[in-house]
């Protein structure tokens, strides 16, 4: 039977490009009616909720070779490249990645639930802006490798998030990979004093988006002073950001009680959550400040249990 509503009732066309260049070209040709789909876990919730239109064309990214793979860029550089369609389950269980950048695993283990992590990708989570991965990647000075008309373009994650925050929205292309710098890689030597921590608070203990998340990546010198530090935070609908004032406050100083008290106050002021009908702003500021300051307190002290819950193998 032919329906007058045929167009509306039709299943979407599914395109299966094999290269990033082809995928991007398809998107350009079809336009706004096309949607890139990798894991599709977030998209399907948006379609169901009516937050995004159900696309007439889906561009399946799972066959694009450049988008997969996870490992060192090359032997000399020491940095890593994570293909955009690497699943969160892979991020969670990749031994080499865990040794080099434990923050990625720490963030991945807090996202969604096992069945979702088997499908959801690191690229999709990072580009959602409000998941947990962007916060962790910010604390690692990550860069995004885009495919667009100009070919491939590399830009710092923080630059892209800054543009998003300014309302200059839209991805400047197809995300191919996330690059992690050698400078943020965990030292191989056992007495190294780099510490990292990822803390997430949701309205439930698991399978829940973040109300607040905080990532800490700190290097202490021989005297215990902060040699280098990156603190990022997100949660709710805010776009995650580095806490630059907080970082500046503690850099070069000994994280003693007085400094941690100061740090707490600075984070309370600097962390800028968006309105949320279910969670108060004061609570979220206090949570961010508590978690950030307590994480540095733990990183500088004896270690042990993390401020969130349970064992934190990366600290």
């Amino acid at each position: 039977m032919a329906y007058p509503h045929g167009e509306l009732l039709r299943s979407p066309s599914v395109w299966q490009p094999v290269s990033a260049e082809e995928a991007w070209r398809l998107k350009r040709e079809i336009g706004t009616g096309a949607s890139f789909v990798a894991g599709g876990t977030l998209l399907r919730t948006q379609w169901e909720a009516g937050l995004a239109p159900y696309p007439a064309h889906m561009i399946d990214l799972t066959g694009v070779a450049e988008l997969s793979g996870c490992g060192p860029v090359d032997e000399e550089d020491g940095g890593w490249r994570i293909g955009a369609i690497t699943t969160l389950a892979q991020c969670r269980s990749h031994a080499g990645l865990f040794a080099a950048y434990p923050l990625i695993m720490e963030a991945a283990r807090t996202i969604a639930a096992p069945a979702v992590r088997n499908l959801a990708t690191i690229g999709g989570n990072a580009l959602s802006r409000t998941g947990d991965m962007a916060t962790a990647l910010l604390a690692l000075d990550s860069e995004l490798l885009w495919q667009n008309d100009a070919g491939t373009v590399l830009e710092p994650l923080s630059d892209w998030l800054d543009r998003e925050r300014a309302g200059l929205s839209g991805a400047p292309g197809l995300l191919i990979a996330i690059l992690l710098p050698a400078a943020c890689r965990m030292p191989i030597t056992p007495n190294a004093r780099r510490r990292c921590a990822f803390h997430k608070v949701g309205r439930r203990e698991a399978f829940i988006p973040p109300v607040v998340n905080v990532a800490l990546n700190v290097e202490l010198d021989g005297d215990g002073a902060v040699a280098d530090i990156r603190i990022s935070a997100g949660g709710g609908t805010m776009i995650p950001a580095r806490l630059a004032a907080a970082e500046a406050l503690v850099r070069g100083r000994l994280p003693d009680a007085a400094l941690l008290e100061e740090l707490h106050a600075v984070v309370m002021g600097e962390y800028a959550p968006m309105p949320d009908p279910l969670v108060g702003e004061d609570y979220r500021r206090m949570t961010a400040a508590n978690l950030a300051a307590a994480a540095l307190w733990q990183a500088s002290g004896a270690g042990g249990r993390g401020p969130g819950e349970g064992e934190k193998p990366c600290c």
């Binding site: 007058p4 919730t45 169901e48 249990r305 401020p307």
Partner: protein, 758 residues
């Protein structure tokens, strides 16, 4: 007895329906399809409160592939439903009173087409002021949902001189408690398949907790004799009270009859949240006084329940709360007033615990606060005030005597978890000083059965079928609680049958007797009673028939696994199939026994008063993270006195499952509304506990002992586990943090502290 796999020994049996459920092979009723079926959808009001000025379905009806678009004028019979009081419109005629209200329904060839057809229906509304606060709803100046006013139901219970009691009190605690709009969150949302037969009959394959009640109500709506309606209602993917009332059935039935084709409806989770029942949110104000020795001298309670727009079982829930805000204690004087108010909020209705969860949260909170003022151990304060075994019930009514009250008190007092309270290791560690631990407890006395003045029939049937199977037929439902397993276990243990000898028939009004509803913690008790009544007659008939067939005296024979056995040595003499065949050959009457009786009630003239009670004591350990204010439950101990354990797995499942619902009630679950609209529209914001929330241990002590000569056997446990955990958590949080929780779910902001680094 600590109840677990080890202590249960050979009684720990694999559920007959377990394999199908864990492998996904079992087809639920909402999995059913027919080749020619239509998809039904319901158009619901976008407004919490409005007049309907015009409804026009002509554009929807004109769409090819759309076979029906029904409104109120298409209902041939009563355009209302409701178990207790039929005031819930199938389709609203001229006014909508909440955002789940139905105004039209369509049947179309595909789900997408049905969706488009809904969008093509034109409805003109004139919005009315929204009544979204039950306390304000009953003030004189509130907009009215009904000309008679917004008071749906009131109740009260009073005795003694309350003012004199307060005057004599050494300590008085006044507090207001609030409880959330909890959702049942069954995994299977409401739905069903509705099939018109060539013989003019209609079959509704749709979950419910009482098939005959659905049949009666559908008969009333359709103006069709009950005999022409068949309700097939099990298996069910969870209900917890939420599917007891009709939900999609009227629409499916009307659409099927209007189109002459099978119609399937299955609510999305979104629609289930919007239209489905929730636990009545309650605000409970209490003022309670004790003397210097800790005797409760005066107790005042005022309960306001948020009814939503229609009755459902709201009056019965309020009556239950009226009884349970008094609960398990003795008082010098009591003064209870309760009111349930109509609002334009979501639809409240029955939910596991039935008003007891809210009442006990408040009452136990009072006891804990009073204990702190007295400087007394909170469990000792309870002991001093507990009703004794021979005491009347909360409403002064005679109740069945058990020693349960004292037994669960003793069990908890002696538990390892409760003993840890004085352990210094409970205090927080030096590496994470923000983690604080505490232990709390609560006491529960929970009534079962529907109560005085409400028809509460019970019964069942046993039959030796022609194929030699022993068929047990009951009008009860399997919604995950393990009813089939419990019934099978009773047949095995009471009669000596093997599991393979038995066929359980439930959930089909064409073939089962009316056993009353599968609600109010009553089904296992009533199956046990039924089998006890039928054991003599049915077993006797089997042995008599075997005696004739075998030519041996009946007293030399015994029922056993596989067939009739020699009483003296257990040797198999004749299997049940041979016995059935010999009956058929001799043209004897089939062997069949049926029983019918009613749930026992208290001999008082007070509607809803209960006669059979179960008792529970709950201890819980929590860990509060003061950086985040979040609470984790790390250990639970449940002492339960409810008579014999019929099915160890089922019993444990009820207590663990119930406590998991209580955990959500305490920590995460609330269907938040704003101006009559749900803010939490799906399971991404309405949060049931995950396995992480439930990672702590759960120990259950099942106290089976009953007084000599007890006639009633197993008491209900279906709801009990869902009641006590929340107040126990609140007290444990107080012990950890020094902060009192009076509103659920617990707001982490209340428990959060600015961390100090010195």
């Amino acid at each position: 007895m600590l109840l677990n796999r080890e202590t249960s020994g050979g009684r720990w049996r694999i559920r007959p329906d377990g394999t199908g459920k864990v492998t996904g092979k079992l087809a639920y009723l909402t999995d059913l399809s027919l080749p020619n079926m239509l998809i039904g959808r319901v158009l619901r009001s976008p407004h919490p409160h409005a007049y309907i000025r015009r409804i026009d379905v002509s554009k929807a009806l004109a769409m090819p592939g759309v076979h029906a678009a029904l409104t109120a004028k298409d209902v041939p019979g009563l355009n209302r439903f409701g178990i207790a009081r039929p005031d819930y419109p199938v389709f609203c005629e001229d006014r909508v009173r909440f955002i789940g209200d139905a105004v039209a329904a369509v049947g179309a060839e595909t789900a997408e087409l049905a969706e488009l057809a809904l969008a093509a229906i034109e409805v003109e509304y004139e919005p009315l002021p929204v009544v979204d606060d039950p306390e304000r709803a009953i003030l004189d100046d509130a907009p009215l949902l009904y000309p008679e006013g917004n008071v749906f139901h009131r109740n009260e219970f009073k005795f003694g001189d309350i003012e004199a009691g307060f005057a004599a009190a050494a300590h008085i605690v006044e507090e207001t408690y609030s409880t959330p709009r909890q959702m049942h969150t069954y995994m299977e949302t409401e739905g069903g398949l509705f099939v018109p037969g060539e013989d003019g009959r209609l079959t509704a394959y749709s979950p419910t907790q009482h098939g005959f009640m659905d049949r009666m109500q559908l008969s009333r709506i359709l103006a069709k004799p009950e005999a022409e309606i068949r309700v097939v209602s099990s298996p069910i993917g969870g209900s917890f009270g939420g599917k007891d009332e009709l939900n999609v059935q009227p629409y499916g039935a009307l659409l099927a009859l209007a189109t002459g084709r099978p119609v399937k409806l299955h609510n999305s989770r979104w629609e289930s949240v919007r239209a489905g029942l929730k636990r009545h949110p309650m605000k409970i104000r209490m003022k309670t006084g004790v003397d210097a020795d800790g005797r409760l001298v005066a107790h005042r309670a005022y309960v306001v329940a948020d009814k939503g727009p229609y009755s459902t079982l709201g009056a019965e829930v309020l009556n239950f709360a009226t009884e349970h805000v008094v609960g398990p204690y003795r008082y010098g004087a009591v003064d209870v007033d309760t009111v349930s108010a109509y609002t334009n909020n979501g639809m409240s209705g029955e939910f596991r615990g039935f008003g007891g969860n809210q009442a006990i949260f408040a009452l136990e909170g009072q006891l804990d606060r009073l204990a702190a003022l007295l400087g007394m151990d909170p469990w000792e304060l309870r002991r001093r005030n507990l009703r004794q075994a021979e005491d009347p019930g909360p409403l002064g009514q005679p109740i069945s005597v058990t020693g349960g009250a004292g037994q669960v008190w003793e069990s908890l007092a002696g538990s390892a978890l409760w003993g840890r309270r004085s352990d210094p290791a409970l205090r927080s560690s030096s590496t994470a000083p923000w983690l604080l631990c505490g232990i709390g407890s609560a006491y529960v006395m929970h009534g079962a059965g529907l109560g005085v003045g409400i028809p509460d029939p019970a019964g069942g049937r046993l039959e030796l079928r022609a194929d030699g199977k022993i068929e047990a037929a009951f009008g009860y439902e399997e919604f995950g609680q393990g009813l089939i397993a419990s019934l099978t276990q009773m047949l095995v243990e009471m009669f000596g049958f093997a599991e393979r000898d038995i066929v359980v028939t439930i959930g089909d009004t064409d073939v089962v007797p009316d056993s009353g509803s599968t609600t109010a913690s009553r089904a296992t008790s009533m199956m046990w009673q039924s089998l006890r009544r039928m054991r003599g007659p049915f077993g006797g008939k089997l042995l008599e028939a075997a005696s004739v067939a075998l030519g041996k005296p009946a007293d030399a024979l015994a029922l056993g696994e596989g067939g009739i056995r020699a009483a003296e040595n257990g040797r198999l003499l004749m299997n049940y199939a041979s016995l059935a065949a010999s009956l058929a050959a001799s043209s004897a009457q089939p062997i069949r026994t049926q029983t019918r009786f009613s749930y026992p009630t208290s001999p008082v003239d007070r509607v809803g008063a209960h006669y059979m009670y179960s008792y529970a004591a709950v201890a819980v350990e929590v860990e509060v993270n003061t950086l985040t204010g979040r609470v984790r439950v790390t250990d639970q101990y449940h002492a339960v006195a409810a008579g014999p354990v019929i099915n160890p797995q089922g019993y444990l499942g009820q207590i663990e499952g119930g406590s998991s619902m209580a955990l959500g009630f305490a920590l995460t679950e609330d269907a938040v509304m704003d101006g009559g609209h749900y803010v939490t529209k799906n399971l991404d914001t309405y949060l049931v506990p995950t396995i992480v929330e439930q990672s702590g241990g759960v120990t259950v002590d099942a106290i089976e002992e009953l007084p000599e000569g007890d006639e009633h056997g197993p008491r209900g446990i279906g709801e009990l586990g869902s009641v006590g955990l929340a107040p126990a958590i609140a007290e444990a949080v107080y012990q950890a943090t020094g902060k009192r929780v009076s509103k659920l779910p617990i707001d982490p902001a209340l428990l959060q502290e600015r961390f100090r680094f010195d």
